[in-house]
């Protein structure tokens, strides 16, 4: 499912080309939350920000943080992916996700289609090991715990723990056979 955020903002009366303020974030979150009903189990919602310039921290707090937390706790497994976001949007999203993760001791990250300032395809606070694993899966599409263990040099148990944590944060997929896949 691909959501064009500019068109959505237009429909909801947001002040384009910017997505700013808490009320705007709340109304966009309300729409996305109901759109999740149409997303199949294990599906990915791609948020396309083409044409959007600034996304401020209030909007991010009301929209992104909530939808990413929803992805973590929802009984229906789904993933969020971003594409075509501006530089300032990335900076602001990164600050909010890092701050939230630090204060709540709960990692929230979001996978991206575009390469980010961290030279990887995600925004948020991942350790170097986690970053390498996400990148490994992005390139190889699918891998077992043993594959990741061999690639990273980590003991299997440790690799499995990291993969499970990444899956809980919806930064990697997991199929029914227990293989891990890129989002």
């Amino acid at each position: 499912m691909i959501i064009n955020m500019y068109s959505l903002g237009e429909r909801l009366g947001c002040s384009l080309p910017d997505l700013i303020t808490r009320p705007a974030g709340r109304s966009v979150y309300g729409y996305l939350n109901s759109a999740l009903n149409d997303l199949e189990d294990g599906g990915t919602m791609v948020l396309d920000f083409s044409g959007v310039k600034v996304i401020d921290s209030s909007f991010i707090d009301e929209m992104f943080v909530k939808i990413l937390l929803e992805a973590r706790k929802s009984s229906k497994v789904f993933y969020i992916k971003l594409k075509n976001f501006s530089e300032i949007a990335e900076i602001n999203i990164n600050l909010v996700l890092r701050s939230y993760s630090l204060h709540k001791n709960k990692k929230i990250v979001v996978i991206t289609e575009n390469i980010c300032h961290n030279n990887a395809f995600f925004i948020g606070p991942l350790s170097d090991e986690e970053k390498d694993i996400v990148e490994f899966l992005r390139i190889n599409k699918s891998a077992t715990t043993e594959d990741v263990s061999r690639f990273s040099g980590l003991p299997t148990r440790e690799a499995e723990m990291i993969l499970e944590e990444l899956h809980a944060a919806r930064a990697v997929r997991k199929d029914k056979a227990g293989n891990f896949l890129s989002v």
Binding site: S15, P17, D18, I20, P23, V54, D56, S58, S86, N92
Partner: protein
């Protein structure tokens, strides 16, 4: 109050630090003055203009009367008129300047954002913020003409949005926003000023027990550099503003209650920042912020 008592304002409207002299006169203005004579004023920058406006509004609220501004030099009157200062209805002023002498709103003079009121109610405030940002985007090429960076416009949109939202979220009062690019000697300055006369930063944190600070200025510094919030578990706004100003090597001045904090970021050296904290200033209601860049 003795009627018609006039106070001659000193020429102290050149920068936020200079305006402290006018704040020191606040008590005399509120208690003994009905006319403020501006004949000695040769220059007013946007932050001082907003402070004067807030002072006039406080005067109106306390006395029920509008403070009269007299003997306004023509260039000051032109500037204040151009910035919609008189439209706020806070002051009464002698209308001595002929219409032909007022500054025209040509594209050349679009290096300003006129004074806009930010309501303390969410819906009106969001509309005002959207309006300010819409005008800013249209005029940004004039306002930011001397600062060549592809993202600077987006940085300022973030800053305007974050600070203006703090007014209705935290101050419990309405406020104002204005912006201008001007020259001092050979230097160009762009200054964004946003202020309110609400409860101020210290009072907004009164009910938050677990924040340790040793002075009101220290609390302002914490609000700028850490994720503390008086309303939620944590807040991002001022921290984000600080991060952006640091990136742009600009200057932040925050005055709240009886304290102020200035931050300077070294233009040549990375990660070189200076914080100047001041306490025990004359108490002035609310929080006022100035963000400045020089070329």
């Amino acid at each position: 109050m003795a009627e018609s008592e006039e106070l001659i304002a000193p020429d102290r409207f050149r920068d936020p630090y200079d305006f402290e002299y006018i704040i020191d006169l606040q008590k005399a203005i509120y208690e003994h003055c009905s006319e403020l004579n501006l004949s000695r004023v040769s220059f007013i920058e946007p932050f001082s203009m907003l402070q004067l406006l807030l002072m006039g509004r406080n005067y109106l609220r306390k006395s029920g009367n509008r403070l009269k501004l007299t003997n306004i030099p023509i260039q000051i009157y032109q500037y204040l008129h151009r910035m919609d200062f008189f439209k706020t209805g806070v002051f009464s002023a002698e209308d001595t300047v002929n219409n032909t002498h007022l500054l025209k709103r040509s594209s050349f003079s679009r290096r300003v954002l006129e004074i806009t009121e930010i309501s303390n109610k969410e819906r009106e405030s969001v509309k005002a913020i959207e309006n300010i940002i819409g005008i800013f985007r249209k005029r940004a090429e004039h306002i930011l003409k001397h600062w060549l960076s592809s993202n600077i416009m987006d940085y300022f949109v973030t800053v305007i949005s974050e600070i203006c939202q703090n007014i209705y979220e935290h101050s419990l009062d309405s406020g104002y926003c204005a912006m201008q690019t001007y020259s001092i000697g050979r230097r160009n300055v762009v200054r964004l000023s946003i202020g309110d006369s609400g409860i101020g930063i210290r009072k907004s944190f009164d009910h938050v027990g677990d924040i340790v600070y040793n002075s009101p200025a220290h609390l302002i510094e914490l609000a700028l550099t850490t994720l503390i919030s008086s309303k939620r578990e944590f807040g991002y706004g001022l921290c984000q503003v600080n991060a952006i100003v640091k990136k742009l090597k600009g200057i932040i001045f925050i005055r709240s209650g009886n304290a102020s904090v200035s931050t300077l970021y070294h233009k040549q050296r990375a990660d070189s920042s200076y914080f100047f904290l001041k306490n025990d200033l004359t108490d002035f209601d609310g929080t006022q912020i100035s963000i400045s860049l020089t070329d």
